[in-house]
């Protein structure tokens, strides 16, 4: 992509856009801000690549860029109460009655998890990142990342159980 291959840029964008958008949503919990973060990350990547400085670890670069920008924005804005947050982290596949029925409940449960647990659950479940990579992003140990994942799953399970599931 170095020095002007816009087709390669579009391919990269198509490959990562949905994942990075969901990741940003899960962190910053605002549709508008998540879109701005994804936009800024890809425009930043295009500028770097056009100057001949393509990141060596592209996936890590993109995830960390999203995280850093979200953290930066969250420092500057007050946290919204959950009732004011209306966004979807997950979408049920058409025709899957069980998932369609549970989507709202699980979505709300994901949003009520502590931020660091929700982050591990999202990155592990839908992005297939290794615990070592997630731990590196969170600046913690692999064991802590694993515990956060297990606590997160446990809370989701309890939430489903509380609703007779």
């Amino acid at each position: 992509m170095i020095r002007g291959e816009s087709g390669a840029f579009a391919e990269l964008y198509q490959k990562y856009r949905a994942r990075l958008h969901q990741y940003a949503l899960s962190l910053i919990r605002s549709q508008v801000e998540a879109e701005d973060v994804v936009h800024d990350v890809f425009v930043g990547l295009a500028k770097q690549a056009s100057g001949g400085r393509m990141p060596r670890e592209l996936s890590a670069y993109l995830y960390v860029s999203v995280r850093n920008r979200c953290v930066d924005r969250m420092r500057r804005k007050p946290e919204l109460p959950l009732d004011d947050v209306d966004l979807d982290l997950i979408v049920a596949p058409p025709g899957d009655d069980e998932r369609i029925e549970l989507r709202r409940l699980l979505n709300h449960a994901l949003l009520t998890l502590p931020a660091e647990q929700a982050e591990v659950v999202v990155l592990r479940t839908w992005h297939d990142l290794e615990f070592a990579v997630i731990a590196g992003m969170q600046g913690t140990s692999v064991n802590t990342a694993l515990s956060r994942y297990q606590y997160g799953l446990s809370k989701l399970r309890k939430e489903l159980g509380a609703h007779g599931r």
């Binding site: 840029f9 994942r19 958008h21 994804v38 425009v43 979807d88 699980l106």
Partner: protein, 78 residues
């Protein structure tokens, strides 16, 4: 419900759709940045050829030597 069951249940969900407006914004701006880079590279090539033709090829080599940067990129955690 055990951990395996909830993991399978969660993995069956799709990621939310990305707004078309965001796609258009990113691709348009990315393409513009790439086009500028291509133009810059073309101008550099012409300049380099001109210097070669005039017998000052060493100046182009010297310019590249001074301005080439290491492509390595460092990821910073904040």
């Amino acid at each position: 419900m055990d951990d395996d069951r909830i993991e399978r249940l969660l993995k069956g969900y799709r990621l939310p759709d990305v707004a078309r407006d965001l796609d258009q914004r990113v691709l348009r701006e990315g393409a513009a940045i790439m086009a500028r880079a291509r133009d810059r590279a073309t101008v550099e090539d012409v300049g380099r050829s001109l210097l070669q033709g005039l017998g000052f090829g060493y100046l182009a080599w010297l310019f590249d030597f001074v301005t080439t940067t290491d492509a390595e990129y460092r990821v910073e955690f904040i």
